[in-house]
Structures are given as C-alpha cells and as structure tokens.
C-alpha cells in the first residue's frame, strides 16, 4: 500500500482554482461534506462543475480523485483489479478504492455514461454505511470521515438510456448548476482569458443566442468553457469572427444549416 501513501500528495490541489460562486453552492457543499452526505451535481457541459469540485477540494484541503466516466467503464475499473507480475498476482486499487483509503474527495464525472453495474458499486458508499466492499480481495473498505463522494450528470441529454436510476439519485444531495448569469459570465471570461470586458460581453450575448437555439436543432448552447476558449484565441490575436467560428460554432454542431445560422449570428455581433 506504499504507493497509495505517495499518491495522496499527488491528488492535492495546490493552488486555489479560480471559481466564482453562482449562488450558495459553496456553503451547501461544505454543509454536505461536514455531514458526510454525498453530492450530485447536475448541469450542462462546461458550466463549471469540475472547476467547482477542484475549488472545493482546495477549500477543504482534501485530495481530489476525478474519474471521467465512459461507456466502457466497469466496476473493476473503479474498485481495482489483480495484475500479473513475475509469476504472481498483485492487487491494484482502482481510483475509487484509492480515494476511500486516503480520505479524498472522489468525483465521478458524467456518471450516466458508465455501465449500469458501476453505479451499483457506489451505493454502499453513498448511504450511511459508507463502505466499499472489494469482492475480489474480500476486503471491506470503511470510508474515513474525510472521504466524500460526488457525482455529476447532465440532465440535458434526453436519452432513455442515459438516465440515473432513482435508487442512485436518491442517495445524494443534488445541486443544480446552470450557465452563470450574464454579468458573472462576463467576469469569468475576462478573468480566465484576459480579454477586454466589452468583447467578453459580446461573447456572452453570442452564447445566449446559441442557448436560444437549444431544442431547436442544437442539443446544447455554447458553454462558458467554449466562451473562454474563444476569448483566449482572440487574446492571442485571432480575428474575433474566426475565433468564434472555430471555438464555438464548429464545436456546437456539424449540421451545415445550423452552422451557417450560428456563423450569421456571430458575424452580426462582431
């Protein structure tokens, strides 16, 4: 288990990640953390969920273990597995088991993407038992008080397949994240990219236009993250129209007509 002792340091968030609160989410998270209740973050992509987790890990001075879930993520990927070394087997912890051992904050990003069986392994961790049974080694890992489980998902994907089961979601305190209010979003763009406030404001307006299109051919509007990307390109000297096209319009859609319309919206603003 020596390797695990080292890794606690590796997972530390050393510098304060920039985060602007949208509401009372920081207080709420701290309250949940001190009561050892797991947290579910809901919200569209790129609205600051992951950044929020980094910020909270820094604030609470806990290591942060982040797992981006994908559709081939199995329970063993989270808990751990045997590997074969010179003629014998060795157990290696998965990220979730490691997080439990070191009392970290474990953040499972986009949990609905993972295979259905993975959501079940977090159940005993997410209620008052707070244990992680490791079937293959026969171990029952008990989570220390500092351990915290957080998961995120995007309710915007209205797919029958990608929905969170009630038995899973009802173990968590849910916090909803949206895109920041225009003024706040402008401040975030300015701070993250160093662009002038006026251009940032136009970017926010452009984002709102694309968000008006959600459900009318676009699955999602432009996220704050995309706006920051566009702003960074502009600061580097890329023409604003070109920057928006590459960083925002092309990222949002491949549909030719939709793309053309978004480019027109963009050229109307810049």
């Amino acid at each position: 288990m020596d390797a695990n002792a080292v890794s606690a340091q590796e997972y530390r968030v050393k510098h304060e990640p920039y985060y602007e609160a949208q509401g009372d989410e920081i207080v709420l998270f701290e309250a949940a953390y001190s009561n050892q209740i797991p947290v579910l973050l809901k919200g569209p992509t790129g609205c600051g969920k992951t950044r929020f987790m980094e910020h909270m890990a820094w604030r609470l001075r806990r290591p942060l273990v982040t797992v981006s879930c994908h559709d081939d993520l199995t329970a063993s990927d989270l808990v751990g597995r045997f590997l074969i070394t010179a003629a014998e087997t060795a157990w290696v912890d998965g990220p979730l088991a490691r997080a439990v051992r070191i009392g970290a904050i474990c953040y499972l990003d986009e949990i609905v993407e993972a295979r259905k069986d993975t959501t079940v392994v977090i159940h005993p961790l997410a209620d008052d038992r707070r244990v992680l049974p490791v079937e293959k080694t026969g171990e029952l890992l008990k989570a220390p008080a500092e351990f915290c489980l957080a998961i995120s998902y995007n309710p915007g994907y209205q797919s029958v397949l990608k929905d969170l089961k009630q038995s899973t979601r009802q173990r968590f305190i849910a916090m909803e994240f949206g895109y920041p209010a225009p003024d706040l979003e402008r401040r975030i763009i300015v701070r993250e990219s160093g662009i002038g406030p006026e251009t940032a404001e136009r970017l926010v307006k452009f984002a709102e236009m694309t968000r008006n299109l959600k459900g009318n051919g676009l699955d999602e509007g432009a996220s704050t993250r995309l706006l920051v990307h566009a702003a960074k390109l502009m600061v580097t000297g890329i023409d604003p129209r070109r920057a928006c096209r590459s960083a925002i319009a092309e990222s949002l859609t491949d549909d030719a007509e939709m793309l053309a319309a978004i480019v027109e919206l963009n050229t109307s603003l810049f």
Partner: protein, 713 residues
C-alpha cells in the same frame, strides 16, 4: 423526357383531340381547345409529348389550371429549357396547393417573368435556399419564435416574417443573402424593440393621409431600429450599411438631423418615433431602405390581439396547474379552490435583473413563496412581456376548473397555415405525388392525441383467454433475452483467466512466446432494438378485426416486457390531409402500465387510413431513439385510403415513398396485414419479403408475437 429522334409532330387536329380529352370539363362550345392545339402544332413531337403529359397530370389536379398551362406553354417552350419548364410547372402546382387556382394561374401567365428570373437565378437567392438558416438565425436573436414565409410583400404581423420569394437585387449570391438577412433582422427588430407597443392603427389614422403617415412613420422607425441594431448587433449593422451603399441609397434630408438624433438616442422608444412623425409630417417620404419592406399595422394588430387573448388563457391555465400541483404535494386534502381565492394568493414579483438593466426578471409567488416556473410557461410569460411590456395584474388569476377543458377552442384546422399554431402539437409533412414526381409541400397536418383510456376487463379477459399461449410466448421470448457472457482469453478484462495464465507460463518455460490473452471479461450481449408498432384504427377495422388487433397488442406487450426491447405503439387514422391523427397508446419512455393497458382497451375504429404521413411522423419519432436496430411494424387491414383522393396508386405511391424515406434513416419497415389482396400492392410498398399475410383474423393475436420473434432473431 428523352429527346431522341422523334416521330413526326402531331397535327392540330390530333392535338385538339388529345387536349379535348384532358380538358373536357372546362371546354364549351365557345371555349375550345382549337387555338391551343394550333399554337402547339409548330413544336417538335417530343415537346408536344412533354406538354400533353403535363396537361394530363395537371388536369388531374384541376382542369382549369391545365387549360391555363396549355395556353401559356408555347411561350414557355420558347423561353425555357425543359428542366426550367418543369420547375415552373411545379411552382405553379405548389402555388395551387397553397393558395388556390387564381394565384396558380398567375404563375403560368407570368411565364415570361419566370423565365427572366431563371436567367438571373445564377446570382439570385431563393427563399427556400435561405429560410432554414434564417429561421434559426432569427430564433437565436431572442424573443418569441417567429415563422418565416414567402410573400409578395415584406412585412411582419409579429408572429410571422414575410420575406420575398427570391432576391436578385445585388450582383452576387452573397450580397443577396446579406439582403435577406437584413430584411429578416429588420422585421425581427420591429417585434423585439417594440414597434407595435403603441396603438399605431389609431394614431396613424388621425393624420390626414394615413398611407403617407404610415410610410413616413416606418421610415423614421427604421432609423430608430437601426440605432438599436448598431448597439446590439454591430456586425449586422455594418452589413446593412454596406448594402445601402452598394444599392446607392440616398441620405435623409439635412433638416431631419435633429429629429433623427432623438431617435438614435439609446433607449428611444416608439413614442419618440411618433413625436418625430408629428414634427416631420409635412416633409416628403424618403425612399424606403432596401431591407425595410412595408408596415402592415392592421395585420400586426390582429395577430397580436389573437395571440394576447390566447396567451392570457394559456398563462392562467398554467398558473392553475402550478398551484394545484404544488398543493397536491404539500397537502392532498385541500381541494381545488375557485379562481377568486387563487387570485388573492398570487403575486407577481418584478425584480430588476441586475445583469440586464433594460429587462426585468419576473417571478410568480403563491402565498409569498416563489414558484418554480417551467420552461414552457416562462416562454409564454416572455411572449406576453414582449407584446405588452409587462404582465398586467389581471393576468394573475388562475383559471378555474373550466380552464382544463380548453380544447382547441375556436381553432380551425386551416389556421395551421396562418400562424405559429404549428407549435401547438401540429406537424406538417410533405406528401409524394407520383403523377408530378414531386412532393406536395407541407401537405398534411398531423396531430398526436391520446387514446381515450377505457377501464374495462378487456385486458384481463384477454390474459385469461390466452393464458397458456402467453406462458409459452414468455418462455420463447425469455430465450432471446440478452445474457451476460464470460469471454475468456481476452487482452483486456476485469479478471484473470487462470487457465490461460498457467498455459502461458508453461509456454514461457518452454521458451515460447507468452500469450497476452490471459484475462476474462464479462460482456453483456444486449439486444439493442427499438420497435414502433403502427396500428390501423380506420373505420374498416370495426368489429372482430379491432378485437383481434387489441388482443394482439396485449399479447405482444406481455411478451416484449419479458424481452426488454424498447417499444412504442401508436394508432393512426384521420380524415383528409388536414386532420391526420396519431393516437398515442404507448410512448417509448412509458412503462407498460394500467394506463397503457386501458388505452389498448380503448382503441376503437375511427376514420380513414392515410399511411404516408403516419410513417413520416413515426420515422421522426424513431429517429429520436438510440438503438442499433429500429423496426417499424404496421398492423393493417387494407390499402391506404383517405377521403380526399388518397387512394389507388396515389396512396400506394406516397406510402411507398414514405417507407423509402424511413429506410434511408436506417429503419426496417415491416407490415402485417389481413387483407387477402395484399399480394397485389404490399410487395411494391414494403419490398418482396417485408410483409406477412395472416388470412385468418382469429390467429392474428398469436401470429403477431411469433412474427416479431422471427424478425428479431
């Protein structure tokens, strides 16, 4: 239209004979086909054949239109190439479908103009080319969703933007597109920056010359709107100025400067424009800007009045719904209260939005507690605010119980073509006309409605009647269910395959290469199937066919529940293209519940079978589902058939076309029929193998499940 070396042209007499045959209903002793025939006699045989063929096709739609065509086509033949001629004809027929005989005849009479447009089309841009982009563009800008429609005049009635059919004013395509965009943006600006916030009709009627006042008002209002656009959409404003420069539009007279300055001030409203109009009324009206169009105050007023009345009811109904749903959660013992009491409890909070100084944020509070407002209600509120600038206090009365019974009151199916009524659950679909070999655009109006649930013992009776069959069906379906399988000797996996490891070590000791495949992996073999059942609910299913259909659905659901395939069931019927109805029995995301069961029991014969539009709509629903295999299974008792000519070859060809479209989207259609004549037409529609005939109706219930099992293994 093969233009090979053709036989000798037909003579005038021969032509007249053929024309007589097609045009008989509109000919008389004073109006003969003789003149038409004489004019056609000078053309080549292939051209004559082309004309005769189309006269025949058009005459099937309308004989008078065919006559008009025959009269105008000689000029058309001289001016246009065959392809352009054909698109000219199709345009006239589309116009006929949309607006009737006279506008359609006008298209034929203006053949010369059409030919000229074809000439300039190389540089021009047509409405159909840009409407898709512009509609998204306008929706993105903000405000209520606006429809775009081609029209003779450029104006907006605040719910639809009327744009020209095509634009050729500028020398290149890009320029003409910019002009389209500017026209759309100008009209959008009228709806967004409050042009209609004043009672324009009354105000403008007070001037001695209302027409002049309207035009001058519009010119001044354009200045105000341009100033708003310059502030909010600088890129667009720059484009608009460049357009004006390119078209050499003059400046406003110098003595207007002072008035214009007031209009250009940030925050100027329509009241400022009215003051400016009063001050400048005596001066001449400047030429309109290229993107300006006209102002139709009366039509705008009418559309607004309708919308305002409708949205008031919608808003109040939504409030009632919100209040009641809130109460059910907190205290189920409180019954619905009457409207007067509700009114006292509702309060509207108009908070200044800290981020957008010019727009306020509205919240509704019940008994002092803020209510969560769903997206759709928020959209209604935004639209009301866009019309009235505020939500008046008398709106804050939740509708009484009567509010729920609001069914399409006062709505005529024809309204669909007029306004934004599409969004209220109506879908428009094209229909294939095999005679024209083209689609009739937005021809069918389809609405989804719920089957009225019938709580009787039908389902339980059926379950008892088929108890043994259900048991064996379940068993055979269970065998199909996807199981987890342990895959051995994998490169990647969750566990060690010890047999493989031992072998690999033995190999290594022997000096052979050690295999990498030493892991096991659990793989779930999922049946990734989504199936849509489309059930015939036409009048002809009355009686035992209907019973058999319902029994078949019960058995099918029982079996599918075991299997775990995603499935949906919709019934279809309707009468004429304007009332195609799709009855929801079970949606994909709905569980097989008592409600679904009672809907199955409630299936009853309705009207006719218009299959094409149903298939198009169900294809659209299937496209929204993620699945590796998608099936569309039709249960039918006969040929496509509807009241307004949708029968025979026409119905079959449209259905076939709709199925081709479905296949293009990766959907596998299949048809189960009890029509013993199906052999004559089903292979043509569904393909040689994609259908099954059950000649004994009593066996339908069991057969359907069996066929499904066969189809999906």
């Amino acid at each position: 239209m093969a233009m090979t070396t053709s036989p000798a042209p037909l003579s005038t007499a021969e032509l007249e004979e053929r024309l007589d045959e097609y045009l008989d209903p509109v000919l008389s002793s004073r109006r003969t086909a003789g003149g038409l025939a004489a004019a056609l006699a000078e053309f080549s045989r292939s051209q004559q054949d082309f004309v005769l063929r189309w006269v025949g096709i058009i005459a099937k739609t309308n004989a008078e239109l065919a006559f008009q065509f025959a009269a105008q086509v000689p000029e058309g033949l001289r001016l246009m190439a065959p392809d352009d001629l054909e698109s000219w004809i199709i345009q006239a027929m589309d116009t006929y479908d949309r607006m009737g005989l006279y506008p359609a005849s006008a298209v034929f009479q203006e053949g010369g103009a059409y030919a000229a447009r074809v000439q300039t089309r190389a540089n021009g841009v047509a409405f159909d080319d840009v409407s898709g982009i512009l509609e998204i563009f306008v929706r993105g800008l903000s405000g209520r969703a606006l429809k775009l429609q081609p029209g003779d005049e450029i104006y907006t009635d605040t719910s639809t933007l009327f744009l020209p059919v095509s634009l050729t004013r500028l020398a290149d395509k890009d320029g003409n597109f910019r002009l389209y965009k500017a026209i759309a943006a100008h009209q959008w600006a009228q709806t967004w920056y409050g042009t209609f916030h004043a009672d324009l009709n009354t105000i403008l009627a007070d001037f001695p010359d209302q027409d002049k006042a309207t035009r001058l008002f519009h010119a001044l209002e354009t200045v105000r709107l341009d100033a708003h656009l310059a502030l909010d959409l600088p890129g667009l404003h720059r484009d608009m100025q460049e357009l004006q420069k390119a078209l050499g539009e003059p400046h406003y007279p110098a003595f207007w400067d002072k008035a214009l300055q007031a209009l250009r001030a940030p925050g100027a409203s329509v009241q400022d424009t009215i003051s400016a109009l009063r001050a400048l009324y005596e001066s001449a009206v400047p030429a309109p800007r290229c993107y300006q169009g006209v102002l139709q105050t009366a039509r705008a007023e009418q559309a607004m009045a309708q919308r305002i009345a409708r949205e008031k009811v919608q808003f109040q109904t939504a409030l009632a719904r919100l209040i009641n749903s809130g109460e059910q959660r907190t205290d189920p013992t409180i019954g619905p209260e009457d409207a007067a009491q509700n009114a006292k409890r509702l309060r509207l909070e108009r908070n200044m939005d800290p981020d957008q100084s010019d727009r306020r944020r509205y919240e509704v509070a019940v008994d002092g507690r803020p209510m969560v407002i769903p997206q759709d209600v928020r959209a209604i509120m935004d639209s009301i605010i866009q019309d009235l600038g505020d939500i008046p206090d008398d709106y804050l009365v939740a509708a009484g119980d009567g509010g729920y019974q609001q069914n399409n009151d006062g709505k005529n199916p024809d309204d669909v073509w007029k306004g934004t009524y599409h969004e209220e659950g109506a879908f428009l679909y094209n229909e294939w006309d095999y005679r024209r070999q083209h689609y009739r655009k937005h021809w069918c109006v389809l609405r989804e409605v719920d089957v009225h649930p019938l709580y009787d013992d039908f389902v339980s009776r059926t379950r008892i009647k088929y108890a043994t069959s259900i048991a064996s069906l379940r068993k055979s379906f269970e065998a199909l269910r996807g199981e987890e399988r342990l895959m051995r000797r994998q490169k990647n996996g969750d566990n060690i395959d010890f047999d493989a490891v031992v072998e690999a070590y033995a190999d290594m000791r022997h000096g052979m290469e050690m295999s990498e495949r030493v892991l096991t992996k659990l793989r779930k073999l999922e049946r990734n199937i989504a199936v849509m059942f489309m059930v015939d609910m036409s009048g002809s299913t009355k009686g035992w066919i209907n019973d058999a259909e319902r029994e078949a659905l019960v058995l099918l659901c029982e079996a599918l529940e075991v299997l775990g395939d995603r499935y949906a069931i919709y019934g279809f019927s309707g009468i004429t293209r304007k009332r195609c109805e799709l009855y929801r029995i079970k949606r994909f995301d709905e569980p097989y519940s008592d409600l679904v069961r009672s809907r199955i029991a409630g299936i009853k014969p309705e009207d006719y079978t218009r299959m094409g539009v149903t298939i198009r709509h169900l294809t659209r629903l299937l496209n929204e589902v993620e699945a590796r295999t998608k099936l569309l299974i039709t249960l039918s008792d006969g040929k496509p058939d509807d009241y307004d000519g949708y029968r025979g070859d026409y119905g079959i060809e449209d259905t076939r076309q709709a199925l081709i479209e479905a296949k293009r989207d990766g959907i596998h259609p299949f048809c189960i029929t009890i029509d013993t004549e199906a052999r004559d037409y089903l292979p043509h529609m569904y393909g040689a193998v994609n259908w099954a005939l059950i000649d004994d109706v009593r066996r339908l219930p069991l057969k359907v499940s069996e066929i499904y099992r066969r189809l999906t293994t």
